[in-house]
């Protein structure tokens, strides 16, 4: 018999601050973490991006100099989550890390003193395991831009079928680096102003960084949200371009809805990177699922695209939206700009909320849909 799995706690560490409630409040106030950044370590050009300030993490963990910048960000976020929920680091606790590139900023970087092995993701997992004394080595998932949302789905499946685990910690994160920035620049995917998801004048994405963490349990604690269903399908179409028909995303949403028993959906937390083709693909997939009329937001104009964190970060903020019965506006949207209609949320209205759909899509043609319900 499959057990239900709940999200009983969460934490977000972003340029807007540490704490998921604090981050939610900032979004309701309309604050964006995106700013012009001129940093020769990241790019020769000025970027519009969201970066965590050094003062927010430096010296805030034990033996700080021993850990890389990204490891420090992960550790600080996990520490806050463990303390808030008194989670034991024992063998009943499963730990999943989702990241696209981990410590890749160290690779061939002229400025690093860390051992070359640290760019391998299992090494990063080992550092985090040792810091907290976790019984299990963290499982690492690296699936492009759906990594964070997929890690939630995988953790749920592992808890549902494995009596050996009582609960799980799922943590997603990536940091800005020259490695990543130069790649997106080469794709000409970056916007030089704050991005505009789903808008007529959208012209590309912004990169950002954040760490998001969720605490999954098999018991419905106070204020917990149940993961009703998840489904993931590949487009089988192109390794870097979104499908013209939104096939994989369409199948993911349709299957997630079916598995959840077709509940009414109160809002959609979309991927919405603000590239021309991605947002168009999402509009097509949602229209095919009959969801064009559902209020929708993308959070990319607040945080930028946070890669391996994004699916998890946006799920956590969606959960806060459910709890507060308040919709988060889709910042950056003004004029409709997709061939199929959408209903981006304009203001942070209060209304009873029970269920939302989270979607994500990524390079390699992967897509995922998750449905969350307040208990």
């Amino acid at each position: 018999m499959k057990t239900d799995v709940y999200i009983a706690g969460d934490c977000v560490f972003s340029p807007l601050g540490i704490g998921s409630h604090l981050n939610f409040e900032r979004l309701i106030d309309g604050e964006s973490a995106l700013v012009p950044i001129k940093n020769p370590d990241l790019s020769d050009h000025q970027l519009h991006a969201a970066r965590i300030d050094d003062a927010q993490w430096k010296g805030k963990i034990r033996n700080s100099p021993y850990y890389t910048r990204l490891e420090s960000l992960f550790i600080r976020t996990i520490e806050a989550l463990l303390q808030a929920h008194s989670i034991p680091p024992d063998e009943r606790t499963l730990v999943l890390l989702s990241t696209t590139k981990g410590n890749i900023s160290l690779l061939h970087s002229p400025h690093t003193s860390f051992h070359g092995d640290r760019v391998y993701l299992p090494e990063m997992g080992k550092q985090i395991q040792n810091y907290f004394g976790f019984s299990h080595r963290p499982l690492v998932i690296s699936n492009a831009c759906i990594s964070g949302a997929l890690a939630l789905a995988v953790a749920r499946q592992l808890l549902q079928y494995n009596d050996g685990y009582d609960h799980a910690i799922v943590v997603g994160g990536d940091e800005l680096s020259r490695f990543i920035v130069s790649g997106f620049e080469a794709f000409q995917a970056l916007s030089n102003e704050r991005c505009r998801p789903f808008d007529r004048d959208r012209n590309g994405l912004n990169l950002g960084e954040a760490i998001a963490a969720a605490y999954l349990t098999k018991k419905p604690a106070d204020g917990a949200v149940r993961i009703l269903s998840s489904a993931s399908f590949n487009d089988a179409n192109h390794i870097s371009g979104p499908s013209r028909t939104g096939e994989g995303l369409y199948r993911s949403i349709r299957e997630a809805l079916r598995l959840a028993g077709n509940p009414p959906i109160d809002f959609i937390s979309a991927h919405g990177t603000a590239t021309v083709y991605n947002d168009e693909m999402e509009a097509i997939a949602l229209d095919r699922c009959g969801l064009s009329e559902v209020p929708i937001h993308s959070l990319k104009a607040y945080y930028g695209h946070t890669l391996g964190a994004s699916g998890l970060l946006e799920s956590v903020l969606g959960i806060h939206s459910l709890r507060a019965n308040r919709l988060i506006p889709s910042l950056g949207f003004e004029h409709p700009g997709t061939t199929r209609p959408l209903r981006p949320i304009a203001t942070p209205v209060e209304r009873p909320l029970r269920t939302f759909l989270k979607t994500a899509s990524g390079f390699g043609g992967c897509n995922i849909a998750l449905i969350f319900e307040k208990v």
């Binding site: 690779l107 592992l158 079928y161 490695f179 399908f233 199948r251």
Partner: protein, 204 residues
């Protein structure tokens, strides 16, 4: 949960490709990995022009997948893909990083950058075999059938899919250590940790 079986398996290691344990292609152990994969492609009469654009991780997993299709037939469209390795997409990471930090004409190429994600290998296979299914790429310190076997069993049961295409896919510019296998609901070799350890260790 129903019993599952290993229906076909393929290893690429030390310049040799074996299908269900039988060597079907061999070159010198010291052949660079990319040369080994390219000559195998030619010798085994695979015809798929996109192969030449792929990085070594994609080439190796593509070949293994292709050979198992010849052996055990086409993949059902819902085949779940579950891969794992240690170095993620290191060969492409290295190439991209070398380009951006080059002292002369530094720069990034989209054709390289797109391969700096390990799950691209699953994307290539999905396109080739028209698989609309779940893809999960795990990163482990070493080959870990103790995790993959029960994970695959629950994934197939949970998603009610017929087959899984799984494997340990550790490929860098200098090392090719691949064991891929098809898991399904019929066959003669049980999908167990013991069998998967044996298949991996038999050809060390």
């Amino acid at each position: 949960m129903e019993s599952l079986y290993i229906q076909s398996f393929c290893t690429l290691r030390n310049g040799t490709i074996r299908l269900n344990g039988e060597p079907i292609y061999g070159t010198s152990e010291n052949t660079p990995v990319d040369d080994f994969l390219r000559s195998a492609y030619r010798q085994l009469h695979v015809d798929y022009p996109k192969f030449h654009k792929m990085d070594v991780l994609c080439k190796a997993t593509f070949l293994a997948t292709e050979l198992m299709a010849r052996d055990a037939g086409p993949y059902p469209t819902d085949t779940a893909l579950i891969f794992a390795n240690r170095s993620s997409s290191y060969s492409s990471d290295e190439k991209h990083a070398t380009g951006i930090y080059a002292t002369q004409n530094p720069g990034a190429s989209p054709a390289t950058f797109v391969y700096t994600l390990p799950n691209i290998a699953m994307g290539e296979i999905s396109i080739r075999h028209q698989l609309h299914s779940e893809n999960v790429f795990f990163i482990f310190d070493s080959y870990l059938p103790e995790f993959l076997v029960p994970y695959t069993a629950t994934a197939l049961y949970d998603k009610q899919v017929r087959e899984g295409l799984c494997g340990w896919t550790e490929v860098t510019a200098t090392l090719c250590d691949v064991l891929m296998y098809r898991v399904g609901r019929s066959g003669s070799m049980a999908h167990t940790v013991t069998n998967l350890k044996r298949l991996y260790n038999d050809h060390e």
